[in-house]
Structures are given as C-alpha cells and as structure tokens.
Symmetry: C2
DNA sequence: GTCTATAGATAGATAGAC
DNA sequence: GTCTATCTATCTATAGAC
C-alpha cells in the first residue's frame, strides 16, 4: 500500500467493526496502522475529519454489498443474501456508529442520507422486477426491516438470531411480492 | 426526591437522550444532579454499574410506552401512535445506546433481550386481536420495522421524516392485518 | 453512611523538529 | 512534506476525610 490515508481509513473501519463507535479513537486507530496518534492528525487534522473519511468509505462499501445481495436470482436467494448482511455484526457496528456520527456531525449526516437514499433506490429497482407498480414506501419498509433486524440481532446476539432474522425477512419479501398495497384497509 | 439513586438514573437517561452514548460520562451525569463525579461512584461504583441501572430504567419505561401505544383503538390510531414513538429522537438515542451497551456489557445484553422479548410479545398480543392466527414472525417483523425507522429517522433527520415513517408503518400494518402469510410463494 | 481530594489513565490538538 | 514531543482536557477509580 502506498497511500497511507487509505491504510488509516481501513484501520478506522476495522476499529468500528470490532469495538464500535466508543472505541473509535485516534490512538487505537494509529496503533493499528503502526503510526503515532500525533502522526495521524497530520493526515486527518481532527477526529471529525477522520470520521467523515471513514464514513465515506463505509457507505461506498455498504452500497456495494447491498447491490450484490439484491442481484441474486430467486426471491429466496435475495432474502437469504440480505439476511446474511443483517447477521454480520461488524457491519452492524459500523452502521450504528454511522447513525450516531450522523447525529453529531453534519457532514456524516449528509453521507448517511446518501446511503439511505441509495439503498432505498436499489431496493426499489429490485421490487419493480417483482411487481412493476411497487411504491417507494415498500422499499422503505424493506430497508427499515433490515436495519431493525441488524440492530436487534447485534444487541441480543442469540444463537438462532440469524435464522430468525432470515425468517422475518422472507415473510416481509413474501408480503411485498404480492402487491398487497392495493388492498389498503384505511 | 429523597432517593439520590433515582435522581442519578434519571439524569443518566436524560444524558443518553440528549447527547447519546458517547456523552454518557460520570462527570456530565453528576453535574446534572448537582453532585461531584467522585460522589457518583459512591452510589454506582463503576461506570458499568451505572449503565446497567440506567438501562434497566430505560427498558421499563420503553415497555410502558409501547404498551400504551398498542392499546389505541383503531388500527390507524395504533399506527400513528407507534410512528410517534419512532420519531422521538431522544428515545432513539437511548435505544441505540442500549444496543451498543448490550454489545459491550453482558448485563445490559440480558436486559436488552428482555426488552426485545417484551415488545415482541406485546405486539403479538395486539396482532392476535386483528388476525387470531398471527405467527410470531409477524410481531418480529413489526418490531424490526419500528426499530429501523427510528434509527434511520434519527440519522437522516429530515423534515418529512416522521410523515414518511408513519406511511411505512401504516403500509406494514396494512399488510399484516391481511394475514398474507398464508399465501407464501416459497 | 456520605462525601471529596487526588491519583492514574487516556483522549485530542498544536507547535515545532527534521 | 513528513513526523513527533508535548500540552491540555477529560475520564474513571480509589483511598480516605467527615
């Protein structure tokens, strides 16, 4: 690796995935790259600068894996792939860190909106292959379910957590695939 | 207030709701109650002890508001009430803090499981009033949706966020009320 | 039993050396 | 341009005063 900045960002991502937002400190990240904390501030003057750069990388990566997961062939394959994403605790720790960082740092909030919009858009495209008239609300619903499952799965960390999450996700996809939205009761 | 412990716990909850998990420090909480940090450690010897006590209070409160929200009359009233919960950012900050704390501290994880189970159970009871055969998967689905909407709503913090979340929640309740689970496609 | 001074550890930022 | 010594702030924990 030639670019130290990339190494630092990678170390920051790993740190978030391993110990979460509370452990996102300059000394810890610097040690991971083999640098001193005071050297790290040369590349990223403030903690917020580093956080923003790491958030940007996290979002790019996450949009990539979501796109891949949605590209699966059958509906069940997609459900399984997406359930797999929610079961990856490292990713969930990063996601939660991003949410917190977005709540504190305006730059990260902007990035988080891009992530959220990008995911909803990709889910929307996928849903259109099932039911051409799928409204955006359904995409938002699916997005919210995956986020919720990931957070609950991380916090409860149960043996059958991944299996249960997959079942919920399949149920959700099942319902959405039937265009039930046409028969609203209110 | 006679019991200082309760005052401290209350201050801890407020702190989480205002500045999130990152701001959950003994000095800040102590200042809120008008005590010194070193005095706070008399009531709660370690940070983890205080965190556990605050988590316990948060869970009790959250189960209470969930129960109240689900007791609404019509389906739309419940949807609106639950959407209101997801739009309360202070509550979401506490929830996210609990998830992170559960990921770090075993005692908090146990408490979070109680919270999760309690909510799923209450949602399940509510769903049974709509469709007697509602499987637990549907309750988990609704739970995940609310958690996801809350987290996304906090992080994106958009003007129409609450309205959009309410629309998603209504769509979800609509689908679940139709017992669509009977027509699985895989 | 209630409270505090103080120690020990760790974080983030800056001025300046090479 | 690259890197580091160092300062200041802040956090948690303990020993001990009242």
């Amino acid at each position: 690796m030639q670019d130290r900045r990339q190494d630092i960002i990678k170390a920051g991502l790993e740190t978030l995935g391993e110990v979460g937002y509370a452990g996102f400190t300059q000394p810890r990240i610097a040690a991971k790259v083999g640098l001193r904390q005071s050297h790290l501030t040369y590349y990223f003057p403030t903690r917020a600068d580093l956080l923003t750069a790491v958030a940007q990388a996290a979002i790019k990566a996450q949009l990539g894996v979501v796109e891949t997961a949605l590209r699966g062939g059958s509906l069940e394959a997609v459900a399984t792939a997406v359930a797999g994403l929610t079961a990856r605790h490292e990713t969930t720790r990063i996601l939660i860190a991003l949410a917190q960082a977005a709540d504190e740092e305006p730059r990260v909030r902007t990035l988080f909106r891009q992530l959220s919009d990008g995911i909803v858009q990709r889910i929307g495209q996928f849903l259109k292959t099932l039911t051409p008239t799928a409204p955006e609300t359904n995409a938002r619903l699916l997005h919210a379910v995956t986020v919720g499952l990931a957070v609950i799965g991380l916090a409860t960390d149960r043996p059958d957590g991944a299996r249960d999450a997959a079942a919920v996700l399949k149920a959700a996809l099942n319902m959405l695939a039937h265009r039930i939205e046409k028969r609203a009761i209110f």
